[in-house]
Symmetry: C2
Subunit: 438 residues, 2 copies
């Protein structure tokens, strides 16, 4: 029941920012409504493991409703928020099937996140999808696994080689993790499974315009990761900007690489909602479209609107999970203090817990406040941190099993690619896409 | 490597029939090529658990290549077989993206299975999808879970009630299992997660034209299953043929039921390939289009073509897993004997191991050669049988965990419905559907 009279807080997005904002409001005298574009919260650091067949979507996500079941004053609505009426204090969202609906608010927390940015070359999106959602991960998994199938069916060696060449654009943690996983798929998982091709002959090329991989990490971590990647068969092209791309190739740093399968993890752009919010409020934005906020994470001139997470720009904070987690919790706390008559707290202060990225089995790099770990030590820390952060007990147990299988064995449990995902025109599995209109 | 000179066997389909046929040829002096429409073998008896969010696709499937990794003379190709040239002994298949290719054979085993039949009302397919593949299961899961979300957003009680009414057409094991699962989703899984609707107010209606549910089971099992279903809130309409359907309702037995979500598990039709095979060989077919075979499962007049599994009609054998498993193994054995100069064996003889269907938590019905079990005893047997048949060790471990969570707890691990699956026009997750052409 939506209780009348309580202060209405609307939270846009149930990623890390929205999750922790709503959790911080658990005991506040407010009626909270979380509007998310899907029915689940994604544990984004592990999304690349869905893309590479190690984990299932369910293992890296939690149903939003399940997350807030214990908070009777937290309502959840499914929908994609498209607009904010700042004067009327209303958000507009689109339900499945396209029907719009409005939700009024007294206070708004925008945690809508970011999308891939192609630096102005949006046509690349068709050839090199990003990796921000489960849809993206399933699409990428399908492309990676089906590429080897197409190589097996290929009519000549050049065609087979194109199918067995993978280019990852963007050498941040996601790109590095993907490159390492694809190399392991080619060298371990698929060994012995093909008769005409040898998957170990695959080329995996990691490209980035900057001068070293993992540019936000310490130089020691960058170097350790690069060494490990090369050892497992990944080619690295730094200082190589992607200037062109089509369905069969990519041009990076002036070099044309023939590759059917490309991934883009190189840039972020604020969710389209940010542009509308900035226009409506006059808020300044950075060059990625992210909103420049006040020290208390509110929009300048609009203390009733908070922006947290990837969408927020404050100081030089990176778009990483911890910034969203801490920012979301902070914003929820500010609102709770307001509603319970407490004095305003301190400005938002980010506590940098460090960076960590896995490179391959038994090898990761970590920067912890000046301390640098790599190799097996880094990997054990990675395992611990991600396992601890995985939502809910059952996810931990099944992830542990999947990881044991993937890391100690050669198996990947989630390799099923459906006919629709692989674009096989199969007569029997085409369910016409009908969206019922009530 | 495809070794020249060996007898070439092509197996169409890697379901139960194709899997056991190819496995029976493991040591035969033949070069076997398995052509499947997806990259995985599906454990069909548990596919309904993907549709209801208990298991992930990976947990009910095995990659075909992984299945045959240990058989160096078994080749796997991804493709949808569309035609057979009986004179030229060649099959034609379609690769991902639509490119056709040919594969020659000396002996052919057709195990292409069946699709849903709508008894001539193919337009029902858009409103009531079937449940034969992982694509179907993911689509159904999306519709079921999103229906509750739409009910929460609904503008009036009649609209909400339409969204919370589910009709399952076809009361065989699949329909019964689905009905029981949807009832448990409504009454257990979603309890406490919604604020405007009460999921326990859902209506789940199981309809069939025949006079009792589970018509292929014993009358005792039918009655036990019906009692259990009613106790958990499922309405049963037997002797009710579906005569009309649109996006908001279904008419069965003269009664109009307003329901947005419908499932069809009522009839089977032979894969389209069967019609072409029958035309090319003159083979007789039954009224479902299945090929009537000789006692050794070959096509009349064509001892080089075997038909096994759901696609085969022999005596009055039902289209169940055991018939495919035993028939596939039998056909492979006949070929192996031919190639090793042994005398022809006996005609195919089906050993009926019985029927089993789960109804709800802790309740299943089983007929074992005259012995009838129900309730908890039946359910423990169901658990044992399905656990033993699950492909591969890791699937067993993770399924055990998922079942523990689902049966002892209230959780379902695989509830994530993506934006694309829920048909939410989300600006950031639309990856253009591009099929690269090499």
């Amino acid at each position: 029941m939506i209780e009348q009279g309580r202060h209405r807080v609307v939270v846009v997005g149930a990623g890390f920012g929205g999750k922790y904002a709503a959790k911080a409001l658990r005991k506040a005298p407010a009626e909270v409504t979380v509007i998310n574009g899907t029915n689940h919260h994604v544990f984004e650091p592990l999304i690349y493991q869905v893309a590479t067949g190690v984990l299932s979507p369910g293992e890296v996500s939690t149903p939003v409703r399940e997350m807030f079941r214990g908070q009777p004053h937290t309502n959840v609505l499914l929908g994609w928020v498209t607009d904010v009426d700042v004067e009327g204090r209303t958000v507009t969202a689109t339900a499945p099937g396209g029907m719009p609906y409005q939700v009024p608010y007294d206070t708004l927390i925008v945690a809508a996140g970011t999308t891939q940015s192609y630096f102005g070359n949006d046509r690349f999106a068709a050839y090199a999808p990003g990796l921000k959602s489960i849809d993206d991960a399933v699409e990428l998994r399908s492309r990676i696994l089906t590429a080897f199938e197409m190589a097996e069916l290929a009519g000549d060696p050049a065609e087979a080689a194109r199918w067995m060449t993978f280019v990852i654009v963007g050498a941040g943690p996601t790109g590095v993790e993907l490159a390492g996983q694809i190399a392991e798929i080619a060298h371990r998982t698929l060994a012995g499974e093909y008769r005409r091709i040898d998957p170990a002959q695959s080329r995996i090329v990691l490209v980035d315009a900057v001068d070293r991989i993992l540019p936000t990490f310490s130089p020691e971590s960058s170097e350790a990761a690069a060494r490990r990647l090369r050892r497992i068969g990944v080619e690295i092209r730094t200082g190589a900007r992607v200037t062109d791309m089509d369905d069969v190739a990519v041009v990076a740093g002036g070099e044309r690489i023939e590759a059917m399968t490309k991934v883009w993890s190189a840039g972020v752009a604020a969710a389209p909602l940010a542009r509308r919010l900035a226009e409506a409020t006059g808020a300044p934005t950075d060059r990625n479209g992210r909103i420049l906020v006040e020290p208390d994470l509110t929009v300048p001139g609009h203390p009733e609107i908070f922006v947290v997470g990837d969408l927020m720009s404050r100081g030089r904070l990176p778009g990483v999970a911890q910034v969203s987690i801490q920012g979301g919790g902070y914003a929820g706390g500010v609102i709770r203090r307001r509603l319970t008559g407490k004095p305003a707290g301190k400005p938002f202060r980010y506590f940098d817990k460090g960076d960590i990225a896995t490179v391959s089995r038994f090898s990761a790099v970590a920067d912890l406040r000046g301390l640098h770990l790599s190799g097996l030590a880094g990997w054990l820390l990675w395992l611990l941190v991600h396992w601890a952060y995985l939502p809910r007990g059952r996810n931990r147990m099944s992830a542990l099993i999947r990881w044991t299988v993937a890391f100690l064995g050669r198996g990947r449990a989630e390799r099923a690619v459906t006919a629709r995902q692989a674009r096989i025109p199969a007569e029997r599995s085409e369910v016409p896409a009908v969206t019922p209109a009530a």
